[in-house]
């Protein structure tokens, strides 16, 4: 099957700044993928290029097997909701009507239901909406488009925790009904982690980790306790980041621990704290790329 997204050797340079550096990437059709990384890591540049809104300096980009730039057939099958999306001088209902003309799979029924969920008034002028309401409008369009490739770039500026939960729940519900490729760029990793089938971690324009989200849970463990015991336990293991204070030390051990390891840690009076996906991503972004690839293989 053709991957939904296929990127090879993609580089984007702005003057002296390398926004994307030799990115290779494949996204399987029908999966929900998290694009994770710090601000300025290159997430938005990557999404804009995928959406045909920006050109690569070099490298190839295929969406649904075709180049997206200036390719209407592909662009109608994808939707890109930007952080702080701007709109012409429209009312909410007009913005939705325009979107309905553009996207062949548009669901007016879903759009109406989502408007109600977010409490968005259809007759209000978009420029009179609060920041959060404008984000909600982007989400309504992004979901109701039911596009084969759906991309959200930090879509929830100004949305509170309740509204974000509505977004996650509706996204899952509609995805269950109409599976499609969804790319969600976010820095709220703990919130979104459960939704994701795969994660792509990008740092300084380079992909530092791609993996099944579930494979990463529990794959690294913070081990802390007396220095000597920590050293004994971690000898010969791959470790990240070591912190120490007086006689105490804490390191991150990469690789799943088995029952024997746990018993041994207990007998050495060590504390074991498995890393959440968010903590792991933070750690991964701080490592040289080759160590991450080695440990996730």
């Amino acid at each position: 099957m053709t991957p939904a997204i296929s990127v090879a050797g993609l580089t984007r340079r702005y003057h002296d700044n390398l926004a994307l550096d030799q990115v290779d990437l494949e996204v399987e059709a029908g999966s929900i993928v998290g694009l994770l990384g710090r601000n300025g890591a290159g997430k938005t540049t990557l999404l804009r290029i995928l959406a045909g809104q920006e050109f690569p300096s070099s490298g190839s980009v295929l969406v649904q097997g075709a180049r997206p730039a200036e390719n209407e057939a592909v662009l109608r099958r994808m939707v890109f909701v930007r952080e702080d999306q701007t709109y012409p001088d429209f009312k909410v209902r007009h913005a939705l009507r325009v979107a309905s003309w553009f996207y062949p799979n548009w669901s007016a029924e879903l759009a109406d239901a989502l408007l109600a969920d977010f409490g968005l008034p259809a007759g209000r002028a978009v420029k009179k909406l609060s920041r959060g309401m404008r984000s909600a409008l982007g989400i309504v369009i992004g979901l109701a488009a039911r596009a084969d490739v759906t991309m959200f770039d930090e879509p929830y500026a100004g949305l509170d925790a309740v509204a974000r939960q509505i977004f996650y729940d509706r996204l899952l519900a509609d995805y269950a009904e109409r599976p499609r490729t969804i790319l969600l760029s976010t820095h709220l990793i703990d919130e979104a982690a459960g939704l994701l089938e795969r994660v792509i971690v990008i740092d300084q324009g380079r992909i530092v980790l791609t993996a099944d989200a579930d494979d990463l849970r529990g794959v690294a463990t913070a081990v802390s306790g007396p220095v000597l015991a920590v050293d004994e336990f971690t000898a010969g293991r791959a470790v990240w980041g070591r912190r120490g204070l007086a006689g105490q030390a804490s390191v991150v051990v990469v690789g799943a621990l088995d029952e024997a390891d746990r018993l041994r840690a207990r007998s050495l009076h060590l504390d074991l704290g498995p890393l959440t996906l968010q903590q792991l991503v933070v750690q991964a972004a701080a490592q040289p790329a080759d160590t991450v690839e080695r440990t996730s293989a």
């Binding site: 999966s31 929900i32 939960q165 996650y168 729940d169 899952l172 519900a173 995805y175 269950a176 703990d190 919130e191 979104a192 982690a193 459960g194 939704l195 994701l196 089938e197 989200a213 579930d214 494979d215 849970r217 529990g218 029952e259 704290g273 498995p274 890393l275 959440t276 996906l277 968010q278």
Partner: protein, 135 residues
């Protein structure tokens, strides 16, 4: 942290889903022959990716604890409860007795005293909870 109905983020979710279904079967909440929630039902309830939920279901199916009925869904296989309870019994010593004995030794509680404590706490249980659940 988002509410995932009690799942945690630091062990694989598919294993937690499988574990919870297994618990429900062992406790009799899901009876043998009963339909198990679908991947989408589990995904909506736990607020997780459907593929992850499916992986949890499949883990139990591969183990023969669930069986697929084409076009209808997954059902609890016959004998599943008995097998799960047997597994739990096997784990009981390592999971509960060993830590108990280790901690007792650390506190200087000798064997007789430990046995007395266990007896006393058994007597504190309601009658129907003593030695039950084995069938």
């Amino acid at each position: 942290m988002r509410d995932m109905a009690g799942l945690d983020e630091d062990t694989p979710l598919f294993a937690q889903i499988a574990g919870r279904l297994a618990e429900e079967i062992a406790d009799g909440g899901l009876a043998e022959g009963e339909r198990v929630p679908s991947m989408n039902e589990l995904a909506a309830f736990y607020r997780i990716n459907p593929a992850t939920a499916a992986k949890g279901i499949n883990l139990l199916a591969d183990d023969g604890l669930l069986e697929k009925r084409r076009g209808i869904g997954m059902f609890v296989a016959s004998g599943a409860r008995r097998r799960l309870l047997a597994q739990r019994r096997q784990r009981f010593a390592a999971q509960y007795v060993e830590p108990l004995v280790t901690e007792a030794a650390r506190l200087g509680i000798d064997d007789d005293e430990l046995v007395t404590l266990v007896r006393e706490s058994t007597h504190a249980l309601p009658v129907d909870a003593r030695g039950g659940a084995s069938e």
